[in-house]
């Protein structure tokens, strides 16, 4: 990477921590309200070394990855169906929109009732939250596949399966991956919401623990940083996949 592209990013990070530090000094908030960045950094390293964060981060990552994979697969399948069948779109879309309009936070207690197991329930929440953006992006992407390419496929007697894998999916891939970018960050949100509902394990649980019984605000911040980093890393992975798969067009 060139210096010109790294420099602004580095500067922005410095400014962020600088302002944070400044606020802690000027406001005089005690560390249990707003710990300064170096305290959080220390606690972050400490908590990882001690193994306080590790099992929770592993649990959350597992929920996010499985939930994202299943939700994205469903999203692509249903998005394709919506794009190719007017009837399916008319029948299904009111329910999809209604489901999307209901906050997942409000659904979490109900899902906890239906899926007694914390891991399963949290994954279900991730699946639901990832599904919608991927389905919509797939629908839009498949609908905008160049009609000329589809005619080419027909002129070569491509089977529906061949059309799907060699024309429609590759052509719609930029749009589908755009939906996945949104989906993967939402999956992290879904995992935290699920963990709150079950209060079993995971980074969401650790946030609550740190605030409540442990009364360890720096640990809470360190956990939040972990959540944010996980989101950024997963997003970067999707962008990377996008560059590899779509970049050379």
């Amino acid at each position: 990477m060139k210096l010109q592209s790294v420099l602004p990013v580095g500067l922005a990070v410095l400014v962020f921590f600088g302002v944070w530090k400044l606020v802690t000094i000027v406001s005089g908030f005690p560390p249990y309200i707003l710990p300064p960045p170096e305290t959080v950094a220390n606690r972050f390293v400490e908590a990882w070394v001690d193994g306080v964060i590790t099992p929770h981060a592993a649990a959350t990552l597992r929920e996010v990855v499985v939930g994202f994979a299943v939700g994205a697969a469903f999203g692509v399948a249903v998005g394709y169906l919506l794009a190719r069948s007017r009837l399916a779109e008319r029948v299904l879309s009111p329910y999809l929109v209604a489901a999307q309009a209901t906050p997942i936070l409000a659904l979490a207690p109900l899902l906890a009732l239906w899926f007694p197991d914390g891991l399963t329930g949290t994954i279900v929440i991730c699946v639901l939250i990832v599904f919608f953006p991927v389905a919509v992006a797939t629908m839009v992407g498949i609908r905008s596949v160049d009609a000329g390419l589809l005619e080419l496929g027909r002129s070569l007697r491509a089977t529906p399966r061949q059309m799907f894998f060699t024309l429609e999916i590759p052509a719609a891939l930029p749009s589908i991956l755009g939906g996945m970018r949104v989906g993967v960050t939402l999956a992290v949100v879904g995992a935290i919401v699920g963990e709150w509902a079950y209060n079993d394990r995971g980074l969401g649980v650790l946030v609550n623990l740190a605030r409540g019984s442990l009364f360890d605000t720096p640990l809470m911040f360190a956990t939040l940083v972990t959540i944010a980093l996980m989101g950024v890393a997963l997003y970067a992975l999707v962008v990377l996949a996008e560059r590899r798969l779509v970049g050379a067009r």
Binding site: E151, L152, S155, T166
Partner: protein
């Protein structure tokens, strides 16, 4: 190839249906080059799509070597107005796409792709992406792709209309060279009278909507043809005859 009494009409969102073709008859002998010419809206491209088996006519039939063509046929290669290359694939992979769809094993496929790239002069471009090619090279790749399954008939829908005049002339020469090497029957839609005369053994004139064959003009210029040895007198006489028919039924 025999086209018998083909009629096609399209439904419109408002108003009644539009008749694009009405009773078209056309015979093309094996190895012959036929140019289809006509004003906009005469249904030239529609006729080509019917012949390609992409569009089912309301009436009439198309037969190739005695078999009815009711769906796309492996014996027919199609070159569209635009190259229609898959932007995410290399040139070689685009040219080999019909072979892949037809289920050829990779080894045989690769061998055939090499032959095809040689045939159209794209040996050096195999690994490039379509966006890295000029418009002319893209259309060459499209022609190579259309020839992949060794069709007995090649249909071309204004294949060079997006190219500049000089490139276009060169491509017409190349197309004839290709034709003399492969012996493929060619049916080419064009807007250009000189192009039709240069390429074809016979020029078929379609009327404005609804499209009908209103004239078939033989081009008696000797082959092999090249741009600088073309018999100017014969060309202009033929052009005059075509033009007189193109005037029929149009206001301009």
């Amino acid at each position: 190839m025999a086209v018998r009494d083909v009629a096609v009409s399209f439904a419109r969102p408002e108003g009644g249906p539009v008749t694009a073709l009405d009773g078209v008859d056309l015979d093309v002998a094996p190895g012959e080059v036929v140019a289809l010419i006509g004003p906009n809206g005469s249904g030239k491209s529609t006729l080509l799509r019917v012949v390609a088996g992409l569009l089912r006519p309301d009436r009439g039939s198309v037969a190739l070597d005695g078999r009815a063509v009711t769906r796309p046929d492996p014996g027919i290669g199609l070159v569209f107005q635009e190259p229609r290359l898959l932007p995410w694939r290399s040139v070689a992979s685009n040219v080999g796409y019909p072979l892949e769809i037809a289920g050829w094993p990779p080894g045989r496929r690769q061998q055939r792709v090499t032959e095809l790239l040689d045939l159209v002069g794209l040996e050096g471009a195999a690994a490039l992406r379509p966006r890295e090619l000029s418009g002319g090279m893209r259309q060459r790749a499209a022609i190579a792709r259309a020839l992949a399954l060794e069709p007995s008939v090649l249909l071309l829908d204004e294949p060079f209309s997006a190219l500049d005049a000089l490139t276009r002339e060169r491509f017409n020469v190349e197309l004839l060279e290709l034709w003399s090497r492969t012996g493929t029957t060619i049916l080419v839609v064009t807007h250009s009278i000189p192009e039709a005369i240069f390429l074809a053994d016979r020029v078929v004139v379609l009327s404005p909507r609804p499209g009908r064959v209103i004239a078939e003009i033989d081009v008696t210029i000797a082959r092999p043809r090249s741009l600088d040895t073309l018999d100017e007198a014969a060309v202009s006489a033929t052009a005059r005859r075509i033009r007189s028919h193109l005037g029929e039924g149009t206001e301009q």
